[in-house]
Symmetry: C2
Subunit: 340 residues, 2 copies
């Protein structure tokens, strides 16, 4: 900066003003300085700037399990939104969300002077650990539920599950079975809850819940159980004709298990998923599912975080993003209501 000032024949402060778009700089000086900056390829040192302003303009992202479609897309959305707002983001990916790992990640980020943290922590234990930790900066959760008083953003999982369940009931199924995700995931919980509420409100039976771990394999195993039940109850009463699986990957496993058992989808058993991964449209058969708007989720979470950082609010607001139902062949309408 001193070099630029010398070459341009002004003081270093004037150069600083030009870089900061300060209003009181004459057009002539500004042009001259800009040109010298260009010519020298000068770039302002962000460490010194951070030191002087006490602002690092850096945000941290803590995410668990970024190999899954949901978290991965969310993190991408968050990073993009932060970049648009002029912040640097640094992401820390954890394999498991233990309190220790979270604390360590937070230390790591705090050590680099992040001004805020977006935590993509869909597990109940993770949010609780997060709430227990005393953070060195504002923290916003994504998919962290709103039970604890951390500000956050999430998709309306409950509504998504209701949409799916209502869609299946409206398609002529007497009731809808459910393959849930791990019980410690809030998303899983909310989806199960939405499903159950819808069934109760419609006066339908609430079958027992099968549980997987989001993986295709666990879906496959659940699917085998479902298939066994269908075959065992053939010819008797209103049986198992529709399944709402808590994510698309498990739905893929369910579809395979049903197929192997000789059951057709949707004729024998209709199947719906959740997430709308890119592959869902090409499953055998194409999967009815819920699409989430991850870009919105990212934008909203960054917006909320910056509101806290820049002191515009200090409430624990919780924003909710609406889901979208995507109907495909796996839940094609039944011609006659299930009565068999």
């Amino acid at each position: 900066m001193t070099d630029v000032a010398r070459v341009a024949g002004v003081s270093h402060q004037t150069v600083s003003r030009v870089l900061s778009d300060h209003p009181n700089v004459s057009a002539k000086t500004r042009a001259a300085v800009t040109q010298v900056i260009e010519q020298l390829g000068y770039r302002r040192n962000s460490a010194a700037r951070a030191l002087a302003t006490r602002r690092t303009h850096t945000l941290g992202v803590i995410a668990v399990n970024t190999t899954l479609h949901g978290p991965a897309s969310t993190v991408a959305g968050v990073q993009e939104a932060a970049r648009d707002r002029g912040y640097l983001t640094s992401a820390v990916t954890l394999r498991t969300a233990t309190q220790t790992a979270l604390a360590e990640a937070m230390q790591h980020l705090a050590g680099w002077g992040v001004e805020g943290i977006v935590a993509v922590t869909p597990q109940r234990a993770a949010v609780r650990a997060l709430a227990a930790l005393e953070a060195p900066c504002p923290v916003v959760t994504v998919e962290g539920g709103h039970t604890l008083d951390l500000p956050g953003v999430s998709l309306d999982q409950n509504l998504g599950a209701r949409m799916i369940t209502e869609h299946l009931l409206a398609s002529g199924h007497a009731t809808v079975w459910h393959v849930a995700g791990p019980s410690d995931w809030l998303e899983s919980e909310a989806r199960t809850q939405g499903w159950e509420e819808t069934l109760r409100e419609a006066g339908a039976d609430v079958p027992p819940v099968l549980r997987g771990d989001w993986s295709p394999l666990s879906g496959y195993q659940a699917g085998q159980q479902l298939a066994g039940r269908v075959l065992a109850s053939r010819g008797r009463g209103a049986g198992l004709t529709a399944v709402f699986v808590a994510n698309d990957q498990m739905a893929l496993g369910v579809l395979r298990a049903l197929r192997e058992a000789g059951l057709r989808t949707p004729e024998d058993v209709a199947v719906a998923g959740f997430d709308d991964i890119p592959e869902a449209e090409f499953f055998p058969p194409p999967l009815t599912t819920i699409r989430q708007d991850f870009a919105s989720l990212g934008r909203d979470s960054i917006g909320l975080l910056l509101d806290h950082i820049e002191g515009r609010t200090d409430e624990s607001t919780h924003l909710v993003v609406a889901p979208e139902l995507i109907v495909r062949a796996s839940t094609a309408r039944r011609i006659a209501p299930a009565a068999e």
Copy 2:
């Protein structure tokens, strides 16, 4: 730090030495200082540290298309490796790899004083643009090929394709068809090349290449063409009995198209993919594919980058990671060689 020094009754420099694990500090002083640090919850300011040492200990990651399985996993691997080595990483995700976008991303990172950049740029155009740009710091490419003199790491795509092709030939197929990825992706190119070389060396016919864009939809369309060809040539000579699809997502589309055309996999047409996405094991039928070790890729790229940053080398080394063949039902062995 001054506070810590005052409370501990030492100079700020001693505190600095304790934090930096300097050897010449007495055990007693060290313990006392450590305790005060703990008690005061002191954390050293990284901006000031960066300013004084002229090292930011920050690395940048530039990635294109992180929604695809490969790039996403690679980025995760890179970030984890960097964190293990004590570096902060900041990722910039681009939607398209134009020269402008790359230059901008680099400016963004340079502005924050990154000491090196890992570029996950599997497209030919992106690497070329990258090589043309004069970077403000060392750059290492991942999956960027080794045609240009940028140091880099990649999976041996060519070998992977050979393994798949040889596996299919060894399973009794007269030749192997190929659905390639976009022609401007280096990975795509290398896979096609490996496939073609293997066929030529084996003296097999080299059928025309079909091309997709990695998406399941494009695979589906390619699959329809393949199915049409199989049906048209029924009963005549050695036909189309095996397909190597350049990634698993497209393979899913191909499988669907074949199924819709009434063709069985692997009995009528064997199908193999590339990537081993978690879903591949549950495709109808489970997919033979190539697994890539993304963690290694990440570790190696960070290792290479740090070698450059810390001045241990300045060559444009290119590391190659070995692929692994995963055989599943989609390419089950033909009992009799294809002669029909």
